[in-house]
């Protein structure tokens, strides 16, 4: 081949392309992560904005969803590679069919960290409710049957030994519908996440009965991967390493600074709060209030999840015939 300027250019271009491909193959791998635009996904936002994923050689793209259930579906269908969100009946069903596998834990509902608010309506019909225990025999607004709110109420019923069937659950599909029904006194009580509950409490439309985590703590969120991602354990390990760095920052710096439910504004916490504020499109002052608990190692309360699975199966929300071993990948999970 005669070496002219043109052939030189071509071969140089070709070399560049092959080099770039090689770099992609062994260097940065692309991972799409499905998360909620909520402060409870804070550890993921920190890992992303502070470059922890990049350090692990990952090119992470965050995909935002407005409910937990669609994230599980998107992970099963392969539209995202990793999902970080709350357990739902749908997630258990998809995991039971082998479409997704759980590899780590996320937020936990624990005492002292507000997450699940039990509310009574300020209308006369809610006057008889004094504590969370009093939901027995009352109408309680929730988003969906088989949601995390439903399970939380199941734990309260277990603790106070009343039948869950004595609570009249009213599924209203969206949080705004639940808030609307509670305001109008159409339900006597409701269970809502802290972020949706606070405005109702502040405006006097609802009365706080208590926080679910204070009465019955449980594992709320998890990290799960698609089938395609599962075939690449090295990739999962790299992802989780960066993810846990985010968890550690969130727990050791942010949560450690919390006093009276508000995180302190210090040179250490500021960049973390900024990362969360930037990804949730919310002001820092709003983020500081009521941060959810996240384990510093991204650990998963395996026994708690087993209990959750059994509860969903017992109530017919999840198909029977599979256990925890089918849905949790023991190669990656750390126990608290």
């Amino acid at each position: 081949m005669r070496f002219t300027r043109r052939t030189f250019g071509l071969s140089a271009g070709a070399t560049l392309v092959t080099m770039h491909r090689a770099a992609l193959a062994q260097g940065t791998a692309k991972v799409r992560v499905g998360v909620l635009r909520l402060a409870s996904s804070g550890n993921v936002f920190i890992a992303q904005d502070h470059g922890y994923f990049r350090d692990a050689g990952l090119d992470v793209e965050l995909k935002f969803f407005d409910a937990a259930q669609p994230i599980a579906v998107a992970t099963a269908s392969g539209d995202v590679d990793v999902g970080v969100t709350a357990f739902t009946g749908g997630l258990f069903n998809l995991a039971g069919k082998g479409a997704v596998s759980i590899v780590a834990g996320q937020s936990r509902d624990v005492a002292g960290f507000p997450l699940m608010a039990y509310l009574a309506t300020a209308q006369p019909s809610g006057a008889s409710l004094k504590s969370m225990r009093d939901i027995e025999g009352k109408s309680v607004g929730i988003t969906q049957v088989g949601s995390s709110f439903h399970y939380s109420a199941g734990l309260i019923a277990e603790k106070y030994k009343f039948a869950l069937s004595d609570v009249k659950f009213v599924p209203l599909q969206s949080m705004s519908n639940v808030a609307s029904a509670l305001k109008g006194g159409r339900v006597e009580a409701a269970i809502l996440p802290a972020t949706a509950a606070q405005p109702l409490i502040d405006s006097g439309d609802a009365r706080l009965l208590g926080w679910g985590g204070d009465e019955a703590p449980w594992q709320l969120g998890a990290v799960f991967v698609s089938q395609k991602m599962k075939a690449n354990p090295d990739l999962i390990e790299r992802f989780l390493t960066a993810y846990r760095r985010g968890c550690k920052d969130y727990h050791d710096i942010l949560l450690a600074s919390v006093k009276d439910g508000v995180a302190a504004l210090t040179p250490e916490t500021q960049p973390l709060l900024d990362a969360i504020a930037h990804n949730t499109n919310q002001p820092v002052d709003k983020i500081r209030v009521g941060l959810a608990f996240i384990d510093p190692n991204g650990a998963l309360d395996v026994q708690g999840v087993a209990h959750q699975l059994a509860w969903f199966q017992e109530h017919g929300f999840v198909d029977k015939g599979f256990g925890l071993d089918k849905i949790v990948d023991p190669r990656f999970v750390k126990v608290p």
């Binding site: 259930q69 599980a72 579906v73 099963a76 269908s77 739902t88 009946g89 749908g90 069903n93 998809l94 069919k97 479409a99 607004g141 969906q144 049957v145 088989g146 949601s147 659950f169 009213v170 599924p171 209203l172 599909q173 705004s176 519908n177 609307s180 029904a181 305001k183 109008g184 159409r186 339900v187 929300f317 999840v318 198909d319």
Partner: protein
């Protein structure tokens, strides 16, 4: 007369048959069987994952389990009540308003603008308001269906009345038939075909809306069941509920067919 002329005079075959469609009952059955067989094969041979498309057998199994546990009857009874009451209320109101719009100029000018303004509002967007106004009991669910049925019925009735041949009305007027008689003996029978085809559409809309109506605080009903199965990703149960809705649709279409045969026998 030449031979060619004789040939021309020979009786001509009757050609003006029109396009008479004779239903072939085996056609729909065969299509149905082939589709279901292909679907089952796709599941059995693993062409598609059972998660994304449960096989017909899995759906039948889910249906049988639901029937045996008695759940299905409860769901169907709750939905049938909501659909029935909602449809009757919406249809009655739609007929009255549509008739008024067809007969009086003032009602028409008011009606057309109001219907055009309100028809395109998605009823689901109004759910939080409906909860506040009517609560989370039966009234809000029935109202959702009645609202959805009302508008198509109004439009079908109004356009049916509008297309009654003017000559018939003029003739009745020249025979000095009173107004009520004209409406009862000419306008309504002539508008009936349009009204009945409106019923076909509104009945399907009622079935469609039962799912949205049961979004608000329903623990029983086919719509609530389908929603719950969807939320929990129990795809076989989801499709079992959808099959029940389709059967509902077939029954309703059959009923309206009978109604058409009865009421339009004069044609």
């Amino acid at each position: 007369m030449s031979e060619a002329d004789v040939a021309r005079l020979a009786p001509v075959r009757f050609r003006g048959r029109g396009f008479v469609l004779r239903p072939r009952w085996y056609g729909s059955l065969a299509a149905f069987v082939i589709i279901v067989a292909l679907w089952q094969a796709a599941g059995s041979y693993g062409w598609v994952s059972p998660l994304f498309l449960p096989s017909p057998l899995a759906i039948v199994r889910a249906l049988v389990a639901l029937t045996l546990s008695g759940e299905l009857v409860g769901h169907i009874a709750a939905s049938a009540m909501r659909i029935g009451v909602g449809w009757v209320l919406g249809t009655a109101a739609g007929l009255a308003v549509g008739l008024a719009m067809g007969l009086w100029g003032l009602a028409r000018s008011i009606g057309i603008s109001v219907v055009s303004a309100l028809f395109p509002i998605p009823k689901i967007a109004l759910l939080p308001l409906l909860i506040l106004w009517l609560g989370i009991g039966e009234p809000s669910k029935i109202a959702t269906i009645a609202l959805g049925v009302f508008f198509p019925t109004t439009i079908a009735t109004y356009s049916g009345v509008d297309s009654v041949p003017r000559t018939l009305i003029r003739m009745a007027q020249s025979f000095d038939l009173p107004f009520a008689g004209i409406v009862r003996k000419i306008v309504i029978p002539a508008a009936l075909p349009s009204i009945l085809s409106g019923f076909r559409i509104s009945a399907s809309i009622a079935l469609l809306l039962v799912v949205s109506a049961e979004m608000i605080g329903a623990d029983r009903g086919i719509g609530a069941f389908v929603l719950q199965a969807g939320n929990l990703m129990q795809t076989d149960q989801l499709l079992a509920g959808v099959v029940v809705l389709s059967i509902f649709g077939l029954i309703v279409a059959r009923l309206i067919g009978v109604l058409e045969a009865r009421l339009l026998a004069w044609r």
